[in-house]
Amino acid sequence: MSNFEERLLSALKEEITTRTAEDKMTTTVTQVQRGSRRRLAGLSAAVAGVAAATTAVVLLTGVADNPAYAVTKGTDGSVSVRISAFTDPDGLEAELANAGVKSVVDYLPQGQTCKDPRGEKGSVTGPFSVSVGSAGGGVSFTIEKGRVPAGETLVLAVSKSEDGDDRPPFGVSLTVVKGAVADCEPTSMPVPPAGDGGVTVDKKDDGGAGFDFRTGGEDEGPSLDQKTG
């Protein structure tokens, strides 16, 4: 092995030692940086082109000055959801119900998601646009009119960041299930590499840890939770 390879090996081994030492010191700054890098490797983002609901009526938000989530009904019948902190899943379900969308919401620790499948695939397929971290750390998505018809349920599973409930999540799975929805059975979630078929990814330009991604093609259904090796 040549000089460059040997030198790189030494530098990397040093990096491992340094990192291990830093982990023991639990330097907040370092952890935040590493957290976002990890997500960079895993997630990513095409410009999602979320059709913004024009005139919007805010139905209800959590706490007034620091809402955990906001559910907004657009004039075109779409429902926009913005989650800024992954707390109170039941409250979000209730909000969505008020907006006419039946839902099951689960928030899980980093690296965990719900075991698939949760039920029969929804009748409307196609990509769901989800934007992660663009609005200060949370997740936003829009449910187009008719996307979750009667008898079907929006199923959201979020793998939270270990850095906190209000940090950009480690992973998001958004699907529509027809009929009964199985209870969430937590399972470990391998992160799909960026730029693969099902998930197109691009780093956003508005800085920081913001990512948009678009789930599923025709052959994948509207699900983000693909299995990696």
Binding site: M1, S2, N3, F4, E5, R7, L8, L9, A11, L12, K13, E14, E15, I16, T17, T18, R19, T20, R34, R37, R38, L40, A41, G42, S44, G111, S188, P190, V191, P192, P193, A194, G195, D196, G197, G198, V199, T200, V201, D202, K203, G217, D219, E220, Q226, K227, T228, G229
Partner: protein
Amino acid sequence: MRLNEDPAAFEAFYRRHVDAVLKFVARRVSDPHLAADLTADIFLAALDSAHTYVPGRGSEIAWLYGVARNVVSAQHRKAAREARATGRVAGRRLMDDDDLVRMEERIDAERRMRSALEAMAGLPEGERAVLELVAIDQLTVTEAAKALGIRQVTARVRLHRARKALENVASPAPVYVEGQA
């Protein structure tokens, strides 16, 4: 795998794969300095995502190529450049003149593969990714599926579509067919 905690385990992993990673990079960029940077970035990213590797569920190289693809993607390069300004491991600073010559030789050796990759540029991303890993990087379809985090059957379908699409191109690059072995 405790890659990111155990220097000895990492060294073994590094030695197994450094050559493949250098080739992977040389097939994709023509600037030796950038190639050195990317090689370092790929192993750093492997440390960052070591927790996503599950031993026994797919080969190491498939997982590593998945990581490498992310690193080499243009979006990441931009972010990595910014990170590198303050980073501790910058590949190009580790090269001396001899290394530079050898890196250029590697890049030259992969010239044919780079033009094959260019010929695939028009394919949809999902299809191109599978064809790239199978035809250019010599992974099996199963490994490519694992590297991309997609189902095997999806990978097969995409590979088929990609090959079909390339057949229909007016001036196809025959190189990719030879590459698949």
